[in-house]
Each structure stands twice: as C-alpha cells, then as structure tokens.
C-alpha cells in the first residue's frame, strides 16, 4: 500500500514587502508579491524525505487560497511533490482559521491520506494552530511542532521542543504532523524539477465540490471580527551615537536615566 502524504501549504504575502490591510480589514494581497510560505517549505521537505524512505509514497500538496496561490503549489511540485489540490472559491475571501480548517479537513479527506504534514505557522497570520485544529476535525492524532520526524511501519515519531521540555512523541497513522524550521533545510527546486512541475496535475475544487455551505466560511461567516487596524506609529527617532571609546559608558548613562540600573 502506498503511503499517502498530504502537505498543507499556504500562499502568503512576502514578509519583506510592505504588508498591510485592505479596506475590509482582510489581508491586502494586491500590492505585495505572494509566495509559498517559507515555513511550509520545511513541510514539503520532510514529506519528500519520508517518501524517499517509504517503499511507495505519493505526495499531494493542498492549498486553500486565491487564484495566485497556484504559484505556491507549483513551487511545491517543483520541489518534488507529485500532484496538487487547489481549493479556490470567491466565497472563501476573509475566511478565518475555524473556516479554513473546515475546508482543509474536507479537502484532505477527499484527497485521501495516511499522513498530513503542515508547517509550524503561516508567515502572515502566524497563529500556529491550524495543524492542531485539523487533527481535531479529522479525529486523528496531532503530532505537532516537530524538529525531527520519522515515519516507520505505520507509526510516526518525532521530537517536540516545547516551552519547558523536549518531548519524544509517537502516534499511529493516520495523523497530522507539523514541522518547525529546525527540521532541516528545504531543498531548492532543480531545473528538471521546475520543468516536470509544469506537467503535474493540479485539481481545482470549490465549496460545492467539498459540500461546504457558503455561510460557514468567508468574511460573513467568520468567527472573529477585526474592528480596526492601525499602523503602529513609527518609533520616535532614537539617539544614535558613534562609539569613540566611551560608548559603553554612554549607554550605561542612558540606561541609568531610564532607571534600568
């Protein structure tokens, strides 16, 4: 039996761009280039390594996002994933994590899976909770925030470096895993990979295909409301001093003035 791996990847605005909110207080996707969330590259990488170790495996990448999110799927396919699923629907605009997890759960179930791999957090919303919620919805073990992951004989094991301890975890498949940026550098797509990705299948699904009611998702169906978003006032320009031999002392003077010493 082939090991069916599904990797959840998100298309996000470039963090080094000038990100801001649109008039409806959702993420403005117009002015900033989008890309495959860097933290999801680690998920794709671990999927590829797990597939390499398995006798027979198939990797499907899934995204929920606007039309441009295909770029994220292409990137994952060019890294080596086999096929892609794109959930795209105008009704999805403004969906929050509760809605997104519902859509992803349905898409993952429809695709069929033994192992779902997510990134540790998206680089835009950065909640870091979707993998746990997805496991809750799918009713399978949550094995999240792994810095090391291994799949062997229907069991997933991994190391989770938590707030106060490092834990060794184990669960049976099917399971939902998320991996951190400590799990190992993601590979660059090769030229061959990029060419091959163009021919790999990308299935498009909408809300109807997933039998999801429009009022469960989107801005109107959202479970949270953003009432206002304000740009943080630029920090008032600080004092910048060139060290002429007394820099440490000057800094101490400043800290004493601020009552830190």
């Amino acid at each position: 039996m082939s090991l069916r791996i599904v990797v959840c990847v998100k298309y996000v605005p470039d963090a080094t761009g000038d990100r801001h909110f649109a008039d409806d207080l959702t993420l403005d996707r117009e002015d900033v280039d989008g890309l495959l969330s860097e933290l999801d590259e680690y998920a794709v990488e671990q999927a590829l390594q797990i597939a390499d170790e398995a006798d027979d495996a198939e990797i499907t990448v899934v995204t929920v996002g606007p039309e441009d999110a295909k770029d994220a799927l292409r990137k994952a396919l060019s890294m080596g994933a086999d096929k892609a699923v794109h959930v795209e629907d105008d009704g999805l605009h403004g969906t929050d994590v509760i809605g997104t997890s519902l859509v992803l759960a349905k898409a993952v179930e429809k695709t069929g899976y033994d192992l779902v791999i997510c990134g540790m957090a998206s680089t835009d919303a950065a909640m870091g909770v979707l993998p746990a919620v997805l496991a809750e919805r799918l009713g399978v073990p949550q094995v999240t925030l792994l810095s090391e992951v291994k799949v062997e004989g229907g069991t997933v094991t991994g190391r989770r470096d938590g707030d106060s301890a490092s834990e060794q975890l184990q669960a049976s498949l099917p399971a939902v895993v998320s991996v951190t940026d400590q799990s190992g550098e993601a590979r660059y797509p090769s030229f061959k990979g990029i060419m091959a990705a163009k021919k790999k299948p990308v299935q498009s699904l909408d809300l109807e295909d997933l039998e999801i009611d429009a009022d469960e998702v989107g801005l109107a169906g959202a479970w949270t409301a953003v009432d206002s978003a304000a740009q943080r006032p630029a920090r008032t320009a600080g004092t910048i001093v060139k060290d002429e031999g007394e820099g440490g002392k000057q800094l101490a003077e400043f800290l004493a003035g601020q009552k830190f010493i």
């Binding site: 990100r19 919620v133 834990e167 479970w223 002392k249 800094l251």
Partner: protein, 320 residues
C-alpha cells in the same frame, strides 16, 4: 457577574507569571475561575486566590503528562461545560494556543491568538493584537460563540486581588482521541538561573556579530549584570552558538520586555517580529546602516567587543 475561565500554566504547582497576568485581564471581563491540570494542580490554588481566582478547578491524572494536548482539551471542555463562562483565556504558549484552538472548534466558537491587551466591550471582550511583524495594531472580537482568547506574556501587570479561590475537583472523562499521541520521554530544559526569556523584564540578545559560541559569555555577562534573560538571533542559533530555545523572532520566542538590547544583530523582519513590541530598544552594531537602528531608542555604532564589556563593567560598578 459572569465567570471567565482562565487556563493555568504551572510546573508542578508553581504558577507561571503569564497566568497571573491573565487573571488581571480576566477581572476586567468577569470573575476568574481558574483551571489547573496535572501533577501539583491543587498546589496552585493559594497564589491564584491571591490574584483574583474565585474558584480553582483542579484535575490530576497521568494522562495529562503521558499524552499530548488532547487530555488537556478534554479537561478544559469539562470545565467549560461546568462553568458556562463568558470567555476562556489561555496563555499564548505553543501548547496553550493548540489547546485553546481545539476547544474553540469543539464548543463552536471563534478564537483569537496572541492578544497583547484585552478590554471589556459592548459586543464582548476586545483583544488588541499586533500584525505583520508588529507594524500594525488591530482590535478584534470573537463574533461567533463564547470567546476563546490566548494572551501573550507581559500583556498586563500582575495585581494582587484576594478572592476565595475555593478548590473544586473537576471530573474529566477522556475522549477517544486523548491517548492518540504518546509522550515517550520528556527532557526538561536545564535551568540557567536566568529569568524565563518570554517573561523577563530585560532581554539581552546576541547575533551573528558575536562571532562564536565562546563569545556569548560577553552577552551572558551583560545579561547577568542587569538580571536579564539571554536571547539570540536565528543566525547565531543556526551557527550553533546558542540554544534554539533562546531564539527570538518569528520562529523563536516572541518577547515584549521593558528593555531589549541587541548586539551584533542586523534587525531582519523575522527578528523584529519577535521583539518589536519591546518598550525600550537598544542596539550595538558596527554598521550604521543596520535596520535595527530604525527601531532603537538608543543605539551605539561600534564594535560590540569594545562596547559590551565596557557597558557590563559600568553597570556592575554603578550597582556598587
């Protein structure tokens, strides 16, 4: 008055500071009812009562330590059902967020994570969050269901507010999912004797400019002179100079201390994401063009190998 459920983060009965901050925020919305789980849970009651908990619901079972996250969700849900609170507040640790989010789905509610402030509002609690590496501040609410909100450390002062704090045992029946992920072993992080990074009033961080594990002694000496926690940039962590548990930034810890001192750190967006909300920011960097200087209240353009030891010595001598 409505009750507000507060999830207690504790280690063997020792309550961590962010939970006491949560009690301060909870009192703005209603009467805090604390939920403490796992070994030592009952031992938390004293300090929770001193800070406003009217009741403390406790449950001790081996499942909380032996399996990941889900047993705690089951217990928090049992508390939710028993109390029918107006809101649920959870500390924003990695685990806290996962527990909160799973509870939200179960009770049919929305969730807000990483709030930095919380006020009562006409339509329910209003949470302040920072977005896009703290370049924006948003106000949001949970619009469906009972609000579940996780709050970052250092978001509110710890205030004494004596209350009854009556201890009650919480009956929990574990779900089929509870034993899904086994914790095979747990290695507690070694204590350095320094304050916890996310809770510290002062954080002293070093980056690639520190140029070697052996030189982190300079950063530690400065930290110790100020009673501070030590942080590191990802470049320093990736180079193996300092443990990952001390990384500050998007994929490390998010800190919001009174004072943040960055030495040999350029100030990349991913680093800023984890420290930009610090009250006072100081940087030492030999490159006057480094983006970190855009954030600082006070910056020294200079060699950290000169400036940091001089600063440490000066701090120590001023302390007498």
């Amino acid at each position: 008055m409505a009750e507000v459920l507060v999830y207690v983060d504790h280690v063997d009965g020792a309550v961590r500071k962010p939970t006491l901050e949560l009690l301060t925020l909870a009192r703005r919305i209603g009467e805090p009812v604390a939920v403490a789980l796992g070994s030592g849970a009952a031992g938390t009651a004293g300090v929770l009562a001193e800070h406003g908990a009217v009741r403390v619901l406790t449950a001790e079972a081996p499942e909380f330590a032996d399996y990941l996250v889900v047993p705690k969700v089951d217990a928090l849900q049992a508390a939710f059902d028993a109390v029918s609170p107006a809101a649920v507040l959870v500390p924003s640790s990695a685990e806290g967020k996962e527990i909160a989010a799973r509870l939200a789905v179960r009770i049919g509610s929305g969730i807000i994570t990483d709030a930095v402030d919380l006020e009562a509002g006409e339509l329910g609690p209003v949470a302040t969050q920072s977005a896009f590496a703290a370049s924006f501040t948003t106000k949001s609410r949970v619009s469906r269901g009972i609000p579940v909100i996780t709050v970052k450390p250092n978001s509110a002062p710890v205030e004494p507010a004596p209350a009854a704090g009556a201890v009650e045992t919480l009956a929990v029946s574990f779900s089929a999912q509870a034993t899904g992920t086994k914790v095979l072993s747990r290695t507690p992080r070694e204590s350095t004797g320094r304050p916890e990074l996310t809770e510290a009033a002062i954080v002293v961080s070093g980056g690639r400019g520190v140029n070697g594990a052996e030189n982190f002694g300079l950063i530690e000496a400065l930290a110790d002179s100020l009673g501070a926690a030590v942080g590191a940039s990802r470049a320093a962590v990736d180079a193996g100079w300092y443990p990952h548990s001390n990384q500050v930034g998007q994929t490390g810890k998010s800190v919001s201390p009174q004072l943040y001192i960055a030495s040999g750190i350029s100030g990349a967006i991913q680093h800023r994401a984890g420290m930009q909300t610090s009250k006072t920011i100081v940087a030492i960097n030999k490159d006057a063009e480094a983006p970190i200087f855009d954030l600082v209240d006070y910056g020294i353009v200079g060699d950290l190998f000169q400036v940091v030891p001089q600063l440490t010595e000066e701090v120590n001598s001023r302390k007498g």
